[in-house]
């Protein structure tokens, strides 16, 4: 019976190809947007987890502004998204406090330097110029692939260590050591090129492949003696002392800020929480659109099924006359609706795979489509088919056979 119903449904769907296709389109779009959204989120999360693994679980990040709210136990309860846009910065004094807090092994300031780097006529406006100290490669766990990083004594020297993308963009070669980059009126000589960084797009973490690292004092000079430290990374002398070290940094900074906690100290896994918050917002937004699209698609299916039931009134009458029970007629039309939406769902998954490939090619995002996501989205399509196919199927099942047979 079921096999027969399926065959019949396929036949009936195929006999009205255009109508069926247009009806399915809503489901295709809905399912595709669900799959793409979830896979994007998962991809970003995986990239971020990879980055955190790389950086190690003992990395302490200090940022300006109060980005998160915590409960008494220190767990993040909510994230203050507007704080990410704030113009506040850590001062050099703050850096000193962090560096001298008990337990801190190394501390590295990351300060943004203003200006667009260029090499003759080639500009790179999306490059990030970071003024930092000699410990940056150590704290980022990143090797300098070619050349060398600057030393502690060279903090005023105008040299630059660049990410791979900067090398490609500004110099159109892999190892432009010895060449120079102009930033404002200063010229920096390329001293080294970093290995490729693991990037994690759409997170508050920056992509250091597009960064130019310059010595702190030299960078400060370019910016007219004033730089914005957007974060300080630190590590404890010993890994197991990380917790007490964080406490020490916190106390020190609170003291320096006259008791006001307008800064944030994050453990590596807490970075993930912030990303999740940003992403949940985005996922919720697109998910809402997808849900609306699925509802509209369901209504489309319901509409077309009502039309189909009316068109096939005589068929219903005949099927009942030769012994089809109400339940069997209901099953036939319900299965037709479900197949319509299921096929739409399958197409939707196919579209999302294609979109996945396109996203991977054209952006640095790496969406991941997992089996549960596919199963869930097809399940959603199935549920939509059942819910919106029910009313027309009930209408078909309740037709009076005599009147139905008389219908033209």
């Amino acid at each position: 019976m079921l096999g027969n119903d399926i065959k019949l449904a396929v036949k009936s769907i195929r006999s009205a190809k255009w109508r069926s296709f247009l009806t399915m389109l809503g489901i295709v779009i809905g399912v595709a947007s669900v799959v793409i959204t979830i896979s994007l989120g998962q991809g970003v999360r995986q990239q971020l987890i990879g980055q955190i693994d790389h950086l190690g679980s003992d990395l302490i990040t200090v940022r300006p502004g109060r980005l998160v709210n915590r409960d008494i136990a220190g767990n993040i309860t909510s994230v203050n998204l507007p704080a990410f846009l704030g113009m506040s910065s850590l001062s050099e004094n703050d850096f000193r406090v962090i560096k001298e807090a008990p337990g801190v092994g190394i501390a590295v300031p990351f300060a943004a330097v203003n200006g667009i780097p260029h090499n003759d006529s080639v500009e790179m406006p999306d490059a990030l110029i970071v003024a930092t100290n000699e410990n940056a490669p150590a704290i980022l766990e990143q090797k300098v692939e070619f050349g060398a990083f600057f030393s502690q004594e060279e903090t005023t020297k105008e040299v630059a260590i660049i990410g791979q993308r900067v090398a490609e963009k500004l110099f159109n070669e892999n190892v432009p050591i010895g060449k120079s980059i102009s930033i404002r009126d200063r010229t920096f000589v390329v001293r080294g090129v970093f290995e490729g960084f693991q990037s994690s797009p759409l997170t508050p973490n920056t992509d250091y492949n597009s960064a130019i690292f310059v010595p702190y004092e030299a960078g400060k000079r370019v910016s007219g003696g004033n730089v914005q430290i957007y974060q300080v990374l630190a590590k404890a002398t010993e890994k197991k002392k990380t917790k007490t070290t964080i406490q020490a940094i916190n106390d020190g900074l609170l003291n320096a800020h006259a008791g006001q906690a307008d800064f944030t100290i994050l453990k590596p896994n807490e970075n993930l929480i912030i990303t999740n918050t940003v992403f949940n917002l985005l996922t919720g937004l697109i998910g809402g659109i997808a849900a609306i699209s699925l509802i509209v698609a369901g209504i489309g299916i319901m509409n077309i099924m009502f039309v189909s039931v009316t068109e096939r009134t005589k068929e219903i009458g005949l099927r009942k006359a030769v012994g089809g029970t109400n339940r069997q007629i209901l099953g036939q039309f319900l299965i037709e609706a479900v197949i319509l939406s299921l096929v739409g769902g399958l197409f939707g998954v196919m579209v999302s795979f294609i979109a996945n490939i396109l996203i991977r090619i054209s952006t640095s995002l790496q969406p991941v489509i997992t089996l549960p996501v596919i199963l869930i989205s097809i399940g959603v399509a199935l549920v939509v088919g059942v819910i919106f196919g029910m009313a027309p199927a009930i209408k078909a099942a309740r037709r009076d056979p005599i009147e139905a047979l008389r219908h033209d």
């Binding site: 019976m1 009942k320 006359a321 030769v322 012994g323 109400n326 069997q328 047979l405």
Partner: protein
């Protein structure tokens, strides 16, 4: 042994002042193997009777026994199950499903019995052979002539070995030669022991029946057994009375009826013989042509 036994069956439509009586305490007993023709003008309750006998509808009052089982008060699903096993319908407009091929159309009643596809199609093929359309198995209904379509419909009605076949004006949409083919097929089916109920407006067709029931205003006004091949007297008296007024013509009394009336039943029998002779002649002629 009665296949159908109706006892004081009434069917009312509407409520209060608007109540119409479609069937008024009809009692009818049909035995196994009978070929019953039901005649009567439009609105005489033929269709209501057919719907009740065919278990498409329930009587308002009265008892109905089908194959010894009381079925008057059955619920819709039980009636559907009775229909699929015990009743075969043949409709005026064939009612073949346009999207299914001939074989699938014939097998349709069996799908609701949950029979496997191979068994279904095997049985359907056998039925098609019985109605002489084995070479049309994979045709679509659109590709069939009216007579062929009706024969497919008869095969469909026969496939579940029903207790009774209800044919509602099966020749109403057919030309006379297709009509004869279809009626002869029904007569054939009758000869093999099936019970057939035929609704018709055409008194000529009562020749095929072993019994004719006349209805008027929801009651049975005449019930006559006749030999196969004869038009019963009642049919003559009810349908062949001189109706030569202009009003009748305007009311659309069929030309066919007037023709029949002119010739009279015996003549028309001759006429039938002569058509047989004609066909024989035609056959021999075509044979000769073939040999040439």
């Amino acid at each position: 042994m009665p296949v159908i036994e109706l006892q004081d069956v009434s069917k009312l439509y509407g409520f209060g002042d608007a109540t119409t009586v479609a069937l008024d305490e009809v009692s009818l007993r049909i035995d196994k193997g009978e070929f019953v023709a039901v005649m009567g003008p439009s609105g005489s309750g033929k269709s209501s009777l057919m719907n009740i006998l065919g278990l498409l509808d329930r009587p308002t009052h009265g008892a109905y026994e089908l194959d010894g089982r009381s079925v008057a008060r059955l619920r819709a699903n039980q009636r559907a199950k009775m229909r699929r096993n015990q009743i075969g319908f043949v409709f005026q407009s064939f009612n073949l499903l346009p999207k299914l091929n001939v074989l699938d159309n014939v097998a349709l009643p069996l799908t609701y019995r949950g029979m496997t596809q191979t068994r279904r199609l095997k049985k359907a093929a056998a039925m098609l052979e019985r109605v002489g359309l084995s070479d049309r198995e994979y045709f679509m209904p659109k590709q069939l002539s009216g007579g062929q379509a009706q024969r497919v419909a008869i095969a469909r009605a026969l496939i579940s070995d029903p207790s009774i076949i209800i044919a509602d004006e099966p020749t109403g949409n057919l030309d006379s030669s297709s009509s004869r083919l279809v009626m002869e097929l029904l007569a054939d089916v009758h000869k093999t022991g099936n019970t057939i109920l035929l609704v018709t407006h055409n008194p000529e067709l009562t020749r095929y029946a072993s019994r004719v029931v006349f209805m008027h205003d929801g009651t049975i006004i005449g019930d006559e057994r006749s030999k196969l091949g004869d038009v019963p007297k009642l049919a003559k008296s009810l349908y062949f009375l001189p109706r030569k007024t202009i009003e009748d013509d305007l009311a659309g009394v069929s030309v066919l009826m007037q023709e029949v009336e002119k010739e009279g039943p015996k003549k028309s029998k001759k006429a039938k013989n002569s058509t047989k002779q004609k066909t024989r002649k035609y056959q021999s002629r075509t044979k000769k042509k073939g040999t040439k």
